[in-house]
Amino acid sequence: MFSSNSGNTVIKSKLISRRMFLLSISKAVVVVGVLGRLISLQINESKKYKTLSDKNRFREWKLAPERGLIKDYFNNEIASNKQVYQIHLIPENTQSIEEVFFRLKSILNLTDKKIFSLKRKIAKQKPWEPIIISDNLNWSEFSRINLFLHELQGIEPIVSVARVYKDHSSAHVLGYVSQVSQKDLKTKKYLKDMAVPGIAVGKTGLERKLDEKIIGTVGFQRYEVNAYGKRIKQIKVDPGQSGQNFKTTLDLEVQKFTTEIIKDVAASVCVMDIYNGDIVSLVSSPVYDPNAFVHGIDKTYWDTLINNSKKPLINKAVAGLYPPGSTIKTLVALSALENKITRPLNTVKCTGKIELFGEKFHCWKKKGHGIVNMRSAIKRSCDVYFYEIARRLGVDRLSETAKKFGLGKKVLNNFAEERSGVVPSTAWKKKFIGQNWYLGETLHSGIGQGYFQSTPIQLCLMTAQIANGGFEIKPRIIFDKEKNNLKEYLKFKNENPGQPLPTDLLVSNFDLKPLFKNQENIKIIKDAMYSSSNEPGGTSYRSRLEDKRFTFAGKTGSSQIKKFTEAQREAEVKQESLKYKDRDHALFIAFAPFSDPKYAISVVVEHGGSGSKAAAPIAKKIIKKVLERHSLRESIYNLPGDSI
């Protein structure tokens, strides 16, 4: 069977060759296939694979930038940075996350809840991205971690920087920073590439308003890493840029002083330079500790803040809404003069109440003030006089003046928590309440009650614009050397007393916007305010400062929370005997010094009773303090090459 005759062999050999030929054809096809694949991978798609290879090779770790500082007018830091000790965990570098947490639990005070939330966070992010286990350790905890570091795989002790507020007096103006929330990422576009563990964003106040500029630029470290995530070598480091520093117009010294004075009441104080709108002090009390938010607020502290009836978290100076009460009388009088409704010496007889439109309107003084003119009506804050004036003026003309002087709109730009308040008018009521205006409501508006709502900073602006002679100013809290046109105008006027140029031309030369028709009217109001504070019988006479350098002119106000019943009125119920929540808010506005006005102030004490008793004494102390520091403030301002 195994034949090997020659013919057979030759036939077989030919068969083999034929079959080999067929095989060779299929080989060629396969080779073309392999070649095609090589061309497609290495030539056509090589760009794509190069990127993928680099993506493999390089890993970036982002570095949180240092937040910019916020300074006061005298370059004292009011929001600073401090070194903090943190521990980070890189999940990829651990053998067992459970084990690490178990060890950490015995070294630090980690709650199970915290560990649970950390684990959830780890599951969401890339395994090489660090997660912050604890962002503010004290030194003993930190050194203990370092001691046990060899048995804590994946744990990295980090010395970082975090926001710190050395004192709490400016808590509300500055606001606070805290960890980035999902909502922040959604609403704040500049945070798009800033998602770095440990970065804090401004949540309220200036921190929020300035956030985009003050937060800085994220840096990164780019490493070449191997397949196991081990860093092989550093390719590039960009340290990022720390945020811009900001200088404010605030005076830390005054802030502290004010805070101390009002620490026991729910109150707010606003002090403003009447010529350039620099806000010297803006305090709301009670204050809270903004540092508590930086590393995540403690639940018990949060609860005490939330449950405090004095509402420490609200910045009352810009977000507290109060009826202006009698402080509005300055504007009512001014509006009446400007609209030629009355003349300063025209009198009204106050008998304690008037009956109009079938309603009784009471003066705060049950017996009445007798015959009063404009000056004495402001001085003694006679309600009946202003009922009469308001009736003749009408709410719409009053509203026009009030708006001109800064009520009813936000004072500071983009201050997220600021509120605009209400200046009522017939059109406003129709639009927002859907009813026609009642004439009686005009009378309520005339004494700053009813629909009127204003913030302390608006009242301060109103006062400042009266005090500076009736020119518009734009309040500011960020220091700005420029835009002191009003001061320059006054300087020019003082240096050139014989200036023949008409006032309106001068005004336009200095880019000023007068709010008056006749500046004499402003002077009349200022004089009336002087009498209120410095002449016997004035509502704030008891709080006067007799030293000429400090003498101020002010106006008290008490805004009703609850209307008195007839019975209460008859019984002459005292504010102090009411429940805290039912007491009137006490207001006081003033400017000083009267002879050469420089600053305006507004003080609001929530449920303080009456302006003359609760608010004016506070204003008195602060005015003195601010004026004492005036020359210092001036000298700083004139320093050449003053850097921010």
């Binding site: 069977m1 195994f2 034949s3 090997s4 020659s6 057979n8 062999t9 036939i11 077989k12 050999s13 068969l15 083999i16 060759s17 079959r19 080999m20 095989l23 060779s24 080989k27 396969v30 080779v31 296939g33 392999v34 070649l35 694949r37 090589l38 061309i39 991978l41 290495q42 030539i43 798609e45 090589s46 794509k48 694979y49 190069k50 993928l52 290879s53 493999n56 090779r57 070449e224 890493v225 191997n226 397949a227 196991y228 092989i232």
Partner: protein, 374 residues
């Protein structure tokens, strides 16, 4: 008609030296040297264990190849059954004494090296069947009883290797056997029947597969589905090759391999490493070298007078081609990862030994091209 035996036997040593196919020898040598550079690169640009032992093995087996070239073709013919039988017993030995590594029992410990008999069987089966079909007369080839022995000698080692388990090598061994049968002239219908049977038993075979083997096949079908798991190797290999571009990242600069993204870069993925560092140009260079080697083997088959020599050379050339193509197809993501080394390039003594042994027999066909085998 044949030259008298005396003439063949009287070939002087000088004649023998001159009848060596030096193009083939140099191609092998160049490929060997290229593989040393590649190995040096896998060691991170240092002479470490892999490089040193690869160089040593290459030269040892290259010398073995050279010596085997002078062994008479008659000897290979007469001992081929014996050789197959020895390899077969080695495979059985693996089953009882073999070393187990990463879940499969493939190696015999031989003091100086770990031998993987399944690699040797790749050549052993070809040798066996070449002799068998050399001896079967043409009219008997397609008779069923003459198909019985080839099927048995093919199935037996393949089953042993599958049980190790080593699916890739088993398939490569089987492919070598099938090729000899095909070249010998076994009718197409038998291959059709065989594939039919294979397809019928495939689902059953799959149920016997280890989970990781199943995963590999599924992964091949869709590697992106599980990029960090089973698809990792294919994806990383494609990234490495693709990122090499036209001229590559440069010697020792293959970031994918240097940073350990490439799995098994010494063995199955050596082409990937080379391709990453030397780009498309380098890939083509390797392909051309393999092309020369294979075409030289076929050429030797053409000039060898005996059908044993022809069958052996053609089959070995084709099997060699399959090894190359399967390995490249694998690293290029065209085939599932089955674990087959790239001849000569890959690290691995048994594979090197088997290939050099096979080439030695080829060269002996060249030297004794006119000699009858029996």
């Amino acid at each position: 008609m044949f030259q008298p035996r005396s003439i063949q036997s009287s070939l002087s040593f000088r004649d023998k030296i001159f009848s060596i196919d030096y193009i083939l020898v140099f191609s092998i040598l160049i490929l060997g040297i290229v593989s040393m550079f590649a190995m040096y690169s896998t060691d991170g640009g240092e002479f470490k264990y892999h490089t040193e032992s690869h160089i040593l093995r290459f030269f040892v087996f290259f010398i073995m190849f050279f010596i085997l070239s002078f062994v008479q073709i008659r000897f290979w013919h007469s001992t081929s059954y014996l050789i197959y039988t020895i390899f077969f017993f080695l495979l059985i030995g693996v089953k009882y004494f073999g070393l187990t590594s990463s879940g499969s029992q493939r190696w015999l410990y031989l003091y100086f090296m770990n031998l993987q008999p399944s690699e040797l069987m790749k050549v052993g089966l070809i040798l066996f069947l070449a002799k068998y079909y050399h001896r079967v007369s043409i009219e008997n080839i397609n008779k069923l009883r003459f198909l019985f022995l080839p099927i048995v000698v093919l199935i037996a080692p393949v089953l042993l290797v599958i049980m190790q388990p080593d699916l890739g090598t088993a398939l490569l061994i089987a492919s070598g056997g099938v090729i000899v049968a095909w070249l010998a002239g076994v009718r197409v219908k038998f291959f059709a029947y065989a594939s039919l049977v294979f397809l019928t038993f495939l689902p059953i075979a799959i149920s016997f597969l280890k989970p990781y083997q199943k995963a590999r096949i599924l992964t091949f079908l869709n590697p992106e589905k599980d990029p960090l798991g089973a698809g990792y190797q294919i994806i990383q290999s494609k990234i490495a090759i693709g990122s090499g571009g036209l001229f590559g990242k440069g010697f020792l600069n293959g970031s994918q391999s240097y940073l350990d993204y490439l799995p098994e870069k010494h063995t199955d993925f050596i082409f990937t490493l080379f391709s990453e560092e030397f780009g498309f140009a380098g890939s083509i260079f390797i392909l051309v070298l393999y092309g020369i080697i294979i075409s030289r083997i076929i050429k030797i088959g053409n000039i060898t007078r005996s059908n044993f020599g022809k069958l052996y050379c053609y089959s070995f050339a084709t099997a060699f081609f399959i090894y190359v193509v399967v390995n490249m197809g694998m690293v290029l993501g065209l085939l599932p990862i089955v674990g087959s080394p790239l001849p000569i390039m890959s690290y691995g003594g048994s594979s090197m030994m088997a290939i050099m042994f096979g080439l030695g027999v080829v060269m002996s066909c060249k030297v004794y091209k006119d000699a009858p085998v029996n």
